[in-house]
C-alpha cells in the first residue's frame, strides 16, 4: 500500500468537462459538462433528484456503464490515473483497489451464494495476492471495523441471514477491504429506517476520518448530505448548478433550484402552511432546453435564461452558482458598494 501524499493540494479526483451520452433515438444527455476536484480526505455530497445524473456521474468514476451504449467525453483523473483510458487488468485494479463503491441495496450488491467472509476474502486475494488465511483474517478485521457484533460468527453468514443495517455494514466492509483512497457512496442509507440510517452515516463519517479516504456521497436527502459532507454540489438535469461548503449552500443558497429543494425539505417551514414548492417536473434528458435547464420551472426566469452560456456567480472558497439572477444580484451589490 502506498502512503497518502502528505501534500494535500494535489486533488485525489479531478473531473473536467465530463459529459455522458447514452445512445438511443434521441440520445440521452445524462451528464453535461461537469467539473470538480476532490481533495484527499474530503467528503463531497452530490445532491439531486432522480434522473439528475448523480448516479451516472458516480458510475463513470468506476467505468461501470455499458461501454457500447455510452459515450463519455472530458477527463477523469483519480489518484493521478486517467480513468477513461484504463483497460483490462489496470481497470480491474482501479475498481476496488483505488476506488470502490457502496450501493443503495446491499441485498442486490452482495452475492447470495457466498458467505460475507468469502466475498471480502476474494477481493483481498485478487487485489493484494494474500493467502486464503490472511484474507480471511482481513475479512474478520473489516467486520470488526464496521462494528458488526460477534464478527467471527457473522463471517460465515450469507447475506440473507443478516438484517438490512447489518448487510449495509457488510457491504461497507467489502468496499473498504483493500483500503481504497476513494469511496463512492450511491444513496447507501436510502432503504434504511431512520434509526439505522443515522448509525450507518455516523459509521461512514468515523471510517472516513480513521482511514482518511476521499468520499463522494450521492443522495437525494439534504439532511443526509449535511450529516456527512464537507462540500455540497447540487445537481439538476445532468449539470452541477451550485457548489460550496455545506454551511454556505444550506445557509445561503443562491440557485433557485437549491432554494426550492431546501423549502421542500421543510427547512424553517411553519407547520400547516403552504410550501414554497417548485412547480412542474425536471425536463427529459433527451430534450434539454437551451440555456438554463431549470428556467422552465423557475419563478425568476427571463429571456437571458434561455441563452447559452449561463453566467456563473462565484463566491470565495470554491463556491459558485450557475444562474443569471444570482450573478446579476452580485454585480448590483458590488456596484452599490462602490458608489
Amino acid at each position: 500500500m502506498t502512503p497518502l501524499p502528505s501534500q494535500s493540494d494535489t486533488p485525489l479526483v479531478r473531473v473536467h468537462d465530463l459529459s455522458v451520452r447514452f445512445a438511443g433515438t434521441p440520445p440521452v444527455h445524462a451528464v453535461n459538462n461537469v467539473s470538480f476536484d476532490l481533495a484527499p480526505g474530503e467528503v463531497l455530497g452530490i445532491l439531486g433528484e432522480s434522473g439528475s445524473g448523480k448516479s451516472v456521474t458516480l458510475k463513470t468514476l468506476l467505468r461501470l456503464l455499458p461501454e457500447r451504449k455510452t459515450r463519455i467525453t472530458g477527463t477523469i483523473e483519480v489518484d493521478g490515473q486517467d480513468v477513461l483510458s484504463l483497460q483490462g487488468r489496470a481497470l480491474a485494479d482501479h475498481r476496488g483497489g483505488v476506488a470502490s463503491m457502496i450501493f443503495q441495496d446491499p441485498s442486490l450488491a452482495l452475492d447470495p451464494v457466498y458467505t460475507i467472509g468469502q466475498q471480502i476474502a476474494e477481493t483481498v486475494i485478487r487485489h493484494e495476492g494474500a493467502s486464503k488465511t490472511d484474507a480471511m483474517a482481513r475479512a474478520l478485521e473489516m467486520l470488526e471495523l464496521v462494528r458488526i457484533p460477534s464478527a467471527r460468527r457473522r463471517l460465515d453468514n450469507y447475506p440473507h441471514e443478516m438484517s438490512g443495517g447489518m448487510r449495509q455494514r457488510a457491504m461497507i466492509a467489502l468496499a473498504l477491504a483493500c483500503r481504497p483512497k476513494l469511496l463512492l457512496a450511491d444513496e447507501p442509507t436510502t432503504a434504511l429506517d431512520a434509526t439505522v440510517q443515522i448509525q450507518i452515516l455516523l459509521l461512514l463519517r468515523d471510517l472516513q476520518q480513521e482511514l482518511g479516504m476521499g468520499v463522494i456521497f450521492v443522495t437525494h436527502d439534504i439532511g443526509v448530505a449535511v450529516e456527512v459532507s464537507d462540500r455540497l454540489a447540487v445537481m439538476y438535469a445532468g449539470s452541477f448548478v451550485e457548489t460550496g461548503s455545506v454551511r454556505d449552500v444550506i445557509r445561503d443558497a443562491r440557485h433557485p433550484y437549491s432554494k426550492g429543494l431546501l423549502a421542500a425539505n421543510l427547512v424553517g417551514a411553519v407547520p400547516g402552511t403552504r410550501l414554497d414548492a417548485v412547480p412542474g417536473a425536471p425536463p427529459a434528458l433527451s430534450a434539454l432546453p437551451e440555456g438554463c435547464s431549470f428556467a422552465p420551472r423557475c419563478a425568476h426566469a427571463e429571456a437571458a435564461c434561455s441563452a447559452s452560456p449561463i453566467p456563473v456567480w462565484t463566491g470565495g472558497d470554491g463556491r459558485w452558482a450557475r444562474c443569471v439572477q444570482a450573478s446579476r444580484a452580485e454585480a448590483m451589490a458590488g456596484a452599490g458598494g462602490r458608489s
Binding site: L202, V226, S245
Partner: protein, 324 residues
Amino acid sequence: MSAPILSAHNLVKHFNAGGFGAARKVVRAVDDVSFELAPGETLGVVGESGCGKSTTARLLVQLLTPDSGSVRFDGKVVGPELPLKAFRSKVQMVFQDSFASLNPRMTMIDAVAFGPMVHGASRGEATRKAQDLLDRVGLDPARFGGRYAHELSGGQRQRVNIARALAFDPQVIVLDEAVSALDKSVEAQVLNLLMDLRRERGLTYVFISHDLNVVRHISDRVMVMYLGEVAEIGPAESLYSAPRHPYTEALLAAMPSLDPDRRTLEAPLAGDPPNPIDPPPGCRFHTRCAHAFGPCSTQVPVSYKVGKSHVAACHLNTSKEQVA
C-alpha cells in the same frame, strides 16, 4: 374532542409466518391498537418498517379483516351496523406505489370514473365528475384524461390516485406513504394539494409516513407505533417538542439535523428493530431502550395521560393518571 368520525377499537391482526403446531410462527403485526379521529383533523402515523403502520391503515379501511376489534364510522360499527359499500364511499385510501395502484389498461379518466359508476352513476355523470377532479388536482383533463398510467410521471400518477379517492366525496382519506416515492420538489407540490383539498372539503386524513418532517408539517396529532403497538399519541406540537416515550425521543433524535454546525454525534439507538414474529416480553421497546429498568422486561406498560390528549405507554410515566 368532538364525536369521532372514525375510530379503531382494540384492533388485532396476526399473520401466519409458517410452521405447524408448536413451531407455528405468528407475526404480531397489529396488537391492540385503538385511536380516534375527530372530523377535519389529520392524524400522522410514524414508526419504522415492520411497526404495523400499513397494516393499521388496511384494517382501518377494511382491506384486511381484524382478528379482533372493530372500526367505527360515525359511531356505527363497520360491517354489522354500516354496510361495507356505504363505508367505502366515506373512507378512501391512497397507496405509496402510484403505478401499482392504477389499472394499466384504463385511461386516467376511466380510472377516476370507475368507482362512481360502480356505485350507480351514469357514464356521462361519472366522466364529468372525473374531468372536474382531474382538473382540481392539477391535470388538464383534455391532455391527461386519455393517457394510461405508464404515460404519466410519478407525481402525476399520485395526483390521479388522489382524484380517484375524491370521486366518492369521502370524508376520510387514509394516505399510506402517499408522497414517499416522489422527488422532494414534487412531494412539496402534492403536499400543498393535500392541504388545499383538506381545507376546501373539510377532509380528515390519516397520514402515514416514515418522514417525521413531513408528518409534523401536515398533522394535528401524531401516533407513534412500535412493533404493532401504539407507543405514544398526542398533539404534533407537544409530541415533537416534549416526547414522553423514549422511542419517540429516539426517532426524533435520529432525524438528520440539517444544521452543519450541529451534526448528530451519537446514534440514539443501536441495532435494527427486532422481529415482529417474536416481540420481546413486557415493553416491546425495552431491548433498545436507554431508560429500561425493573418492570420494563416483564410488565406490559399501560397508557398514561401525560398531557392534554397526549398519551404514552411507558413505565417512566407511572406518576401520571392511567388511561383506560
